[in-house]
Amino acid sequence: MTQDGPGQNHCPALRQAAEAARACAQCGACMAVCPVYRVGRREDSVARGKLRLLRGLDEGSLKADRQLRQTLGRCLLCGRCTANCPNLTPAREGLQAGRAALAQISGVPFAKRLLLAEALPRPSRLNAAAAAGYWAGKALPDDSGLLHRLSGLEGVERLPPLAEHPFLSQAPAEVAGPLGAPRVAFFVGCVANYMRPDLARKAVALLARRFTVVIPQGQGCCGLPAIAAGLGGPARSLAKRHLALMGAARVDLIVTACGSCAHTLAKELPELLGQAEAASRWGLRVREISQVLAEEDSLLAGLSPRPDFDGAVAVHDPCHLKIGLGVSEEPRRVLRAAGLDLADMAGQDQCCGGGGLFSINEPRLSDAIFAPRAQAFLQSGAQALATSCSGCALQWRRGLPAHLPVVHPLELLDV
């Protein structure tokens, strides 16, 4: 028998992971909620098992090898384990720190590093990559691991093609609202910028009915993929840049049309920057756009549905939005205010399997997690699936037949 004891190590990320692992009482309750465990029923996919592995790493009985990296990759970072742990174990946070520890100890594979450490923090590179058709299944060079795998995913042909011009390359620096309107910044996010510029345009137009909207140039990726890959350095440099940019914009709110971006900016960024006071205050001002719309009666009152859409809408709750930020009623309120019918969809707050880099690293598990979602949607009788997260939207788009629209709630509005 082994007795529990603290490990000897000097890597802060590993220390954080090991602390979470030691807080775990091993009751097993996270098995009831973990989407990955539900489909595989393997102890190594639930928080309890993964935390135990991290403890092994901390105590020196396990090596930071490829297998451990792979196992820790089998997590959507959805946060259900933390939210439901009767013993208040910061499980998701520990698993995320574990990835950072592994990346530090062993380094991540080169291809991932290429995109995540090099391209994402530098918009110019990602622009170049986009222009060169790097993304989304256009002729990909052999050595581009992540891109290659994205292209190898089933259903990629159903993803929106890359926009000819990213939103930010054509966006004004500021769109004036009514006289004396409060100022908000719009954070675009990668998917809206490169794939769905119309969504970004709609978001800005709606916001401008009530606010003066600043669109800071030089913004980039929110940092979620880097965090998910355990790359603390690149994530931190993104966070610092955004903190500075948004600070300079002198705004009351930072608004985005993506639940994952909102969660990363609100929750991860202050964490990355060591809870610096400015960062924490900054985090409090981040909103997903449906929150802003739902809070403003004047905005709600002016909403109407897109004339070419007819039928009921099913809403899928992104984990980052519902579990991470406690937002789930707001997107529905927006759709209802526009006069749209909401369809009841079974499991509407269950994970779609698209979190972080999961669908790229674990396509089979990801598909298995998604399968019941698709079935529930088809049974709901809805004509469109609305979800307020770019990651979820990509996952649903890959998974649903092409004639069924997958949209952000805003995309069903007439703007």
Binding site: Q26, G28, M31, A32, R42, D44, R52, L53, S61, L62
Partner: protein
């Protein structure tokens, strides 16, 4: 385990179902207890033929095998204390059939209890056993532990629903016991022998369970008491009234304090809380909840509340559900015992537990299933202080002595596993124990299936 054994096992299990990986050995080393014993290899069960081959190979090379469900057991039943093979049953998780006409379910052992409850409910049927771990423990683990739960007062425990089993014996033979018949007296009742055998007699791969019609309606009532005797009188009055509550839960003052500081529910200060659930046709439930309210009030309950709807009922249950984690408000470490005593001795057992706590300088919160005499006694301590740990262990001995002197039993539902092995000799009848050893020999002459569990070794006999 030598390389020939490993080779044979890998082949018997199938390479995709076999692992010697350091990580797998680490994560399957533990269960719901705080102990860790890494197995030498892990096999993921695939079906009866594969399990049979694995058992045969283990027999040949004399390798211990430990079946594991969800690993939520609280007495270490799934710990591979002697190394060997950990047999993970969680992947066998198909509900094979819910036969409405027969009112039975046929399920593999890895099905999670809550999944079966939901599937039965979808057909208007009811699987009553409801351990607090139902959302994640498995039917196989429930059968092997004879798990109880919240509804035992009216509906009994897992044992009362198992009609038949399919299992693999330690020598690889396949065994069928029982069937879909509600009554059957042909032969010895091997089904009941396997229920509660803690994986020491056979590996269960299929379970036939009895289902009931789903009750139409439910009601929830709770009451607070300024002293323990009043609460005990309330329970006695309720059970003597002719009403069979589904659940009759009890929490002592330490528990209430802990829950209040953990979950801030606005509970009134009290020495005890009683929580009662009723079910049945709406008109009966309505009449009975009025009667229960009167009984709880007459015993001195203040306040007594009847939930107006399901949401309010959930609110009343919240205090009880928060108990597991809340108890740590009294200390970071806990030894959790689940003794049961005859109904008339309930208050006395609680009182003695509190006295043991005073004597040992520890807080001992008690909660549990008052309606069936099963109490969860939590000896809180701080593992960082060796003196406290030793006092806590001595407190457990004291408690067990009190429990037995009141005619109780050392475990109502969690089983013996390894953690109670040192004590159960004191409770068991020596002749009975001799028979049990004989039974184990008949099933498992080589002693390879979950060794050192359930039955005390000769040297700890009194």
């Amino acid at each position: 385990m030598n390389s020939a054994a490993l080779q044979a096992l890998r082949q018997a299990a199938g390479p995709d179902y076999f692992s010697q990986d350091a990580g797998d050995r680490l994560i399957y080393a533990g269960d719901g207890t705080c102990f860790r014993y890494p197995p030498e290899a892990v096999v993921r069960a695939r079906g009866p033929e594969q399990i049979s081959r694995v058992m045969a190979a283990c027999g040949k090379y004399h390798v211990p095998v430990v079946p594991r469900g969800a690993g939520s057991g609280l007495t270490g039943g799934a710990l591979p204390v002697a190394g060997g093979v950990l047999l993970d049953m969680a992947g066998l998780n198909r509900i094979k059939a819910i036969r409405k006409r027969d009112q039975v379910a046929v399920a593999e052992p890895g099905v999670v209890t809550g999944e079966l409850q939901a599937a039965a409910e979808a057909q208007g049927l009811f699987y009553p056993p409801d351990p607090a771990s139902a959302a994640f423990c498995t039917l196989g683990g429930n059968v092997a532990e004879n798990a109880g739960g919240m509804r035992a007062v009216k509906y009994g425990v897992t044992r009362d629903y198992v009609l038949g089993l399919r299992a693999v014996l330690p020598d690889g033979r396949l065994l069928k016991t029982g069937g879909a018949n509600i009554k059957s007296v042909v032969g010895y009742d091997l089904t009941r022998l396997l229920v509660g055998s803690e994986g020491t007699l056979a590996v269960i791969y299929e379970i036939i369970l009895r289902l009931l019609p789903l009750p139409e309606d439910r009601a929830t009532i709770n009451a607070f008491y300024a002293d323990l005797d009043k609460a005990a009188r309330a329970v006695e009055g309720l059970l003597a009234s002719g009403i069979r509550p589904v659940a009759c839960e009890f929490m002592d003052g330490y528990c209430l304090k802990a829950v209040e500081s953990y979950a801030k529910l606005g509970l009134p200060p009290a020495a005890a809380m009683i929580l009662v659930d009723l079910d049945g046709p709406p008109e009966v439930v309505r009449r009975q909840s009025g009667q229960v309210e009167t009984i709880l009030q007459q015993a001195g309950g203040e306040p007594v509340r009847v939930a107006g709807d399901r949401a309010e009922a959930e609110g009343l249950w919240r205090a009880r559900r928060a108990m597991g984690p809340a108890v740590y408000q009294h200390g970071p470490g806990k030894l959790n015992e689940d003794v049961a005593v005859p109904l008339g001795s309930l208050a006395e057992m609680v009182r003695r537990a509190h006295l043991v706590g005073e004597k040992r300088g520890l807080v001992i919160p008690v909660f549990g299933h008052a309606g069936d005499g099963n109490l969860h006694i939590n000896v809180m301590h701080d593992p960082a202080y060796p003196e406290q740990v030793s006092q806590a262990h001595q407190a457990v001995s004291d408690l067990f002595a009190h429990c037995l002197s009141l005619g109780g039993t050392l475990s109502g539902e969690h089983g013996v596993g390894t953690t109670k092995l040192g004590f159960v000799g004191a409770e068991m009848d020596p002749v009975g124990l001799e028979l049990m050893r004989g039974i184990k020999k008949v099933f498992d002459p080589a002693g390879i299936l979950n060794p050192h569990k359930k039955l005390p070794p000769p040297e700890v006999l009194p």
